[in-house]
Symmetry: C2
Amino acid sequence: MLKPSVFKECLTNPSFSIYGGVSGLYDYGPPGTALTNNIVDIWRKHFVLKENMLEVDGTMLTPYEVLKTSGHVDRFSDWCTKDPKSGEIFRADHLVEEVLEARLKGDKEARGVKVQEEESEGQSKKKKKVKNVAAVKLDDAVVQEYEEILAKIDNYGGEELGLLMKKYDIRNPSTGGELLPPVAFNLMFSTSIGPSSNLPGFLRPETAQAHFVNFAKLLEFNQQSMPFASATVGKSFRNEISPRAGLLRVREFLMGEIEHFVDPEGGKKHPRFDEVRDVELELLNREVQLAGKTHVETTPIGKAVDSGLVDNETLGYFLARIQLFLLRIGVDKSKIRFRQHMANEMAHYAADCWDAELLTSYGWIECVGCADRSAYDLTVHMKKTGAPLLVREPRKEPLKIEEWQVDIDKKKFGPKFKKDGKTVEAAIEALTQDMREKLSLDLQNEGKIVIDVPGVGDGKVEVPKELIAIEKRTRIENTREYTPNVIEPSFGIGRIMYALCEHNYWTREGDEARGVLSFPPPVAPTKVLIVPLSSHSDFKPFVRILSDKLQEIGVSSRVDDSGASIGKRYSRNDELGTPLGITIDFQSVQDNTFTLRDRDTTKQVRAGLDEICKAISSLVNGTESWQDVQARLPAFEGQEVDKE
Amino acid sequence: MLKPSVFKECLTNPSFSIYGGVSGLYDYGPPGTALTNNIVDIWRKHFVLKENMLEVDGTMLTPYEVLKTSGHVDRFSDWCTKDPKSGEIFRADHLVEEVLEARLKGDKEARGVKVQEEESEGQSKKKKKVKNVAAVKLDDAVVQEYEEILAKIDNYGGEELGLLMKKYDIRNPSTGGELLPPVAFNLMFSTSIGPSSNLPGFLRPETAQAHFVNFAKLLEFNQQSMPFASATVGKSFRNEISPRAGLLRVREFLMGEIEHFVDPEGGKKHPRFDEVRDVELELLNREVQLAGKTHVETTPIGKAVDSGLVDNETLGYFLARIQLFLLRIGVDKSKIRFRQHMANEMAHYAADCWDAELLTSYGWIECVGCADRSAYDLTVHMKKTGAPLLVREPRKEPLKIEEWQVDIDKKKFGPKFKKDGKTVEAAIEALTQDMREKLSLDLQNEGKIVIDVPGVGDGKVEVPKELIAIEKRTRIENTREYTPNVIEPSFGIGRIMYALCEHNYWTREGDEARGVLSFPPPVAPTKVLIVPLSSHSDFKPFVRILSDKLQEIGVSSRVDDSGASIGKRYSRNDELGTPLGITIDFQSVQDNTFTLRDRDTTKQVRAGLDEICKAISSLVNGTESWQDVQARLPAFEGQEVDKE
């Protein structure tokens, strides 16, 4: 657990707190902002640069029609339930979850079972609304029912939640008041664009739509070459019903999103899959969850794809790459798992979805989603707008298609059917191959065909052979057209940052008050703390020289020339995760050497300015470790105490 | 001028164009996004890293009350005028400007004056609404009136604009219909936060408010040390009445904003002012504009501050640093000027303001604002919330204050005045020093005082000397409290990017079709183009080696292995501003050497992989120029043509 003082005051804090705050909105302070920027920077190197992804930046303001087509207007909602007396509104699934968890806890107390540390860690922070539940023993069968419901809580729709609420008598926890049946609440923030208020719009709920509506331009920019990926880093918005769990459920959040466009034929292979085949992931599959369980299996991604557990290579490639990214920024490997979505849990556009979940003091938290959106989005936008959101490629071998073709004698067709001509023609064009084959026989045998044309005459139309021919012919197709499928890894940067802080926080042995945030140097908000031994004026020019020099090599530093002891000043910055410290002491003034201190080991080396800067540069770029530097440069055994 | 094909299709394009687009919203394509990211990266190094600014990230969603206090709800608006018949809405100042400019142009035509190239360049793109104005000669006096109005067009309020519209008979340009008097239209997008719709909010119109409401936390993080600056890079929103001029007036835009907090006493000195004292700026001051003129004076910033033209060192320091930044990213020095705001033009919070304007084909465009917001924001938020948004510092010398103090005998005061006691007491506390001095004499001479207390009795209240004493005493103040002033440089990143593109675009001599965007390498969207001579399979492994190697050293590259000629492939990427190209030819296959080509000169050198990568790295980091590289490595004289 993080000490609240560090995390709350410096990394982030509730927005507009002097105005009483707004739930679900958080501001990032200087260390939080720097940490975020560094995570994004590494994200860009790991994904965008590595695979020459096309990074794009769409607007957050999105017109109604786009999100109507994408399905968000109708389906991007949570179920909420209202207490008609108090006016309070609850998110229905969260309420059911909290009430059942509380009752299970009460049951354990009644049975005299000590609640396991691990469990309470995962649940302790959630229980905002449900407090002080009486220790009431439940039937064994009821306990099992509750546990099974909780394991698939994300799988219930509104009606099912309503039935659960009735069956288990779930009420407003603070007043005991009855609740109305759940209704859908759309999670998008709405606004209107322009002065006349006639163009309704929303703040985007995801960055993805900009990729889809611009697909034709992106494909052109990529010189018609497939597969390729686009990427976006940007804010999205969800008007959460009742934000809880601090940073983990917020109304405005930074995402990194990748849309990888792939040919749906040929099994969605990925050219670099061999590079990750042996990466082992902890997988929690759909069937296990539906059986009311949560155990995971360690599986190499190659094996998971081969067995069909993970649907295809591209999806598998990204699951592995997501894990490699999380490890690169310093996430604890033992606190990562990949959980497959259950059918009803998936977003409306998804064909399959796995979440990378990270274990925090709030339990397992979804930090990265990796969905196979199939051809859903491109298809609906193309259908709505007529824009060619597809790939056309020359076939290596021209495709020969044997088919029944219909020829109409248009000169005779018009005079015969008059105003119904177009309708009859359209009905003929729409005939299936099977029907055409059958009708060609009719034409041969009876000299006419009879077809269904609703709305013309009595719905049956006779066409004589003078007006029509039906023949089997061979058509050559040189171009193939297809709508690409999309694999979408989607990163919640704020959640990742939060988990990263928890995973990297520890306290010095024997001193609970001395916390350390052991971020890897490339991720750390500030890289170097500059500490003059005292406020002695001899040290001042060295402070300036050091900060200017570090700034030149692009390394962020902070000076602490306060009156506090050296030890205290280092402690303060250990808590902010600053990996390196330079002390300026009286020897510095004499021989221009400085000590360089490592945050995690508190070991120090001593060297001249250039050597120190070289070491800092390679530590910050990740090309050297502290052990390498310690092996190269002479150790300094001075104490972390004041001396003058 | 940029070729539309390059700029429109790749850098940016209207958002949601397959849905018909939304005016004022633009998406950034891959080169536009990379260019923006690089500008932001350099901005961070130039400002944030250089001065250890505290970078913060606030939310865009902002509750009503915060923006009510800041003055934006009441005053962040433009004047719009409506045609009641057609329903069209115009921005009043733009309409007046466009109509008068069109009439002046018509006048020139009537006089047979050829319209100057420079003028038409500056005005050509604005005239969307006013077209085909007849060549009508105007009176000389009218011409002068029009020109004076245009020079101070930004200085008019709604009433004045209404009078101008009446006086000069300005109507709906497309229908000739009469227009209603201008009314204020608030430019913020509104929404509501939470499920019960009872918390109204806006999308932020600037990033600044998050700095102000968090001031106490920032000061604490900075260990109470002044001066300091905070900074934010993020999107803001303005619901423009009728967006025009493409990228230059948009509804959603990326800003870089700095809030430099400074002690208002002591002339707002800046510790690094000496570093920029000699930087020469082109200054267009307020008086020149109010006289209806636009000429600028080249002035070293030191001199401008000394003479009082620029109010103080901190403001001057940032004006110089803004220019240095613009030059660093490649803006044309001859197309920068700094224009001082006129009194009515300034935002409601500003005490003084200078804009860095860049010359584009749309004329001079405000790209950076540099405002002295004085203590406005911190004062209003502190007054509203009671939060201590101020600096407390120990005085070096305790301050001795001689003052008239009032003592009230509370035991007798209550019984005498009963329910009016508090009111009378407050009136006494509020007495000025001068009044207290006068009343102390009354007390001595008459044994009582008479003071005004509105609402108590007849408004006059008599207080006998038994209840009150007034004495001159000395008070010692050890702590000084003050509200810092704020200097705010505010960068419109999209506008800067647009101007940068125009300034860097040129065409090869003798070939209008071969455009080049000469971005400095650190700014360029993609750094290296990799060009295999042909699709020969021998080249393929080298393509992979080169892109992997470049990726390792953090350099973005793009492969063009299309069938087009080498020359054509280079041309295509010259237009996207890619500064370097590597050709893989048959010699590469034999001896592992490659040619490296410079975009601007089209000169080439030839060397082995490591040498090539080293040169690329130093060019991209800006530590070497092409001339340096050319001097080091052997020239390659091959032609930019295909050979096999």
